[in-house]
Amino acid sequence: MKGLVLLMLVVAAMTTARAQTAPTERRSGYDFASPETRAMQDDDTANPGMLWVLQGETLWATKAGTADRSCADCHGDARTSMKGVAARYPAFDIALGHPIDLEQRINQCRAERQRAEPLAWESVDLLSLTAFVAHQSRGESIAAHTDSQLRPFSTLGKELFHRREGQLDLSCSQCHDDNWGKRLGGSVIPQGHPTGYPLYRLEWQSLGSLQRRLRNCVIGVRAEPYEYGAPENVALELYLMERARGMVIETPAVRP
């Protein structure tokens, strides 16, 4: 009997999720990176992510599609029109009835305004445009979502974040809430705040989106990743942005 109670206590301790990291303890992945990696991010002429931002700037002014229109034709100077936009995405799309992320918003603009083919996920063009738009929000704080229509979707994101998955039976929360700062293999486990996306990963030798990162993590726990653009991915993005509200956008960040 005594043994059974002890076992139950142990099981209870294992299944009780630790509370979300307190706002004062929140740290960007930047804080966990090596001084060399941070120096690379801080210098715009050494930050390889700026190559995509540069490309995005060109694309912004390039006419596309049957409407023969560029982003700049409608939105003008991105430095003013796109300032702060990345800090409030994913945002609720009334026509679709669900939230969409920045990449999806750019492709929506392409389809509806430019009448052009959508850009493929993780293509150089989509990453470049996203990086260019998000770069305009560098230094801005991630906005708190006030749209009540987003509530069910961020709740779904939160549930997915805490759901154990895959052959390793791990949830996002078990690493990024309970064990951040410790090491997994050679790398430090960050808190999982999406402050610098799209970001340059030295491991990828490329820029990549938050969805690519999410899929990587899901594959890491040996679960089936959600497809690019899947509602589950967007819900997770939404919850992560809510979890990181008030933190500063760094796009394009550099991470190991």
Binding site: T45, L51, W52
Partner: protein, 106 residues
């Protein structure tokens, strides 16, 4: 090959040692990797970088497959006179990307 970032001072004193930082977008495919069907991915790297200062070569580098994608090359030179710095990157296809930057030396 198109996206290039070059950082150097636009003005310098004669005899001053200046740092030049360059970054270029390139996959730097090693030739050692296999694709999803098991076939080797052909090597495609930048193998040569040259910087000429008013026509005189001041820096050159040979690159090999161990260099990461989007190579960052930084070096120093002495500001000897006003004029132009010409940078060129040549890859395995023989394609060359060239950039020119002006410098004023007082």
């Amino acid at each position: 090959m198109a996206r290039v970032l070059i950082n150097l001072p636009t003005r310098a004193r004669r005899g001053e040692i200046i740092e030049i930082k360059t970054l270029i977008a390139h996959p730097m495919e090693t030739g050692y990797r296999l694709d999803s069907t098991g076939n080797a991915i052909a090597r495609d790297i930048i193998n040569r970088f040259v910087c000429n200062y008013n026509g005189e070569e001041v820096f050159r580098a040979e690159l090999f497959p161990a260099i990461a994608a989007n190579p960052f090359i930084a070096f120093w030179t002495i500001a000897v006179g006003s004029g132009e710095l010409a940078f060129s990157w040549t890859d395995d296809h023989g394609q060359t990307q060239s950039e020119i930057r002006q410098i004023t030396v007082e």
